[in-house]
Amino acid sequence: MNALAVSAPVDMAELRATLAAEAGPVHFVAGGTDMLIAGRPLPETGLLIDLARVAGMAFISTDGTDVRIGGATTVAALAADCRLRVRIPALCEAAAQCGSVQIRNRATIGGNIANAAPAADLMPVLVAAGTRLALLKHDGTQYEAALCEYLPNSGHLITEVILPERGLLPRSAFVKLGSRQDMTISRLNLALLAEFQSNHFGVVRVAAGALGPVSSRLHRAEVALAGRKLGAATLRDFIAALIDEVDTAIPGRNSQLHKRRAVAGLGLDLIAQAMGLSPRDRLFEEAAG
């Protein structure tokens, strides 16, 4: 059995050539914050490729119609990028609430997707935004796929995360609930992207994490808001739809009772953040009452 070898390509061309030349198993590491958690087996054979040095894998491009983010871009870079915050504030908010500053300085957007944790904080935002991925196969071919079609076990490398212009709705928000305020794994997280004009919602997309194996859209919650006036009655319907989504997602689970109550409060916080209102605004008291 051959020992583990290491490669640290400096650009995409070297990365492609390295991949194409390797006949054995290939492992990728970028931040390492998921790979190195104690108790998880580390690779012992094959080729370990360090993505952290690949020029062209850590960037945030907001100048074009689509937002494009390199797969090895750190979560800290997402949280701090002012131009990204203009295009999709919810993604910056989710990034700012991921782990600790130490984790954010190393963890990457590609790793957050590839690790496929049910509670991954970036995922609800990316799902709601209709994200597409640029992927690289071992034979060097590149292709694009919708995030919801991506198979974490495929071994295909996420080189770019693409947020299409049509998914970047003008209002967006991300909220999470964990066992403490900071540095906490989400027990439940929600993202919203919406059109909003003349006090009415237009197109709305809502997604949740930690409600199933993968983050997913909450279509009933979207219908409860779409095209309707922002008011207590609409918000009550939104809360009812969210609770319905929880009941459908985790029937009979120990966490169902807790999450159907939590989602109500979290849902109102989500709307408050998206609208730039205080969660203590009278509107939300009326809706919760």
Binding site: A8, T33, D50, S100, V101, N105, R106, D182
Partner: protein, 156 residues
């Protein structure tokens, strides 16, 4: 595999296993035992070091990934003495058993580098990845705020 990096200002070239954690390399190979290993899963922050000035959990980083980078551990923060931030920790009684202190100080240094005059909420947010089981955090936050204020005063 061979790697070269800078640790506490000193250039180092050495052989390293591809799956050595940075924390293990710093402690076991370089003898920098100020780097503490607590949980090995990024929860406690005791292993915090500065990587090119930014706090990272050295237990969650492969040592070879530090090739060409600069690492600062608590031993390299102020030579053989203590700096003003460490002095503030002592003055405010922010050190009890001391196990979390190196990581806490380095996380605070990272914060003060990025944000020289943080508010209390910002200090708490920046130190959320560092767990102390003795002091209750109040005195630690006060120590960081005190050092920040003193540095700001010194600059005026």
């Amino acid at each position: 595999m061979r790697m070269s990096l800078k640790v506490n200002g000193q250039a180092i070239e050495t052989e390293i296993s591809p799956i050595s954690r940075l924390s293990g390399f710093l402690r076991d190979v370089l003898g920098l035992t100020g780097v503490k290993e607590g949980c090995c899963e990024g929860e406690c922050g005791a292993c915090t070091v500065l990587l090119d000035g930014q706090p990272v959990d050295s237990c969650l980083m492969l040592a070879f990934q530090a090739t060409g980078r600069e690492i600062t551990t608590i031993e390299g923060l102020c030579g053989s003495g203590v700096n003003d931030l460490q002095q503030a920790f002592l003055k405010m009684g922010a050190v009890q058993c001391g196990y979390c202190t190196p990581g806490m100080v380095l996380a605070a240094e990272g914060l003060l580098h990025a944000n020289p005059s943080p508010g209390e909420a910002e200090i708490r947010h920046a130190l959320a990845g560092n767990i102390c089981r003795c002091t209750g955090f109040e005195t630690i936050v006060q120590a960081v705020a005190t050092a920040a204020a003193a540095r700001q005063g010194a600059e005026r």
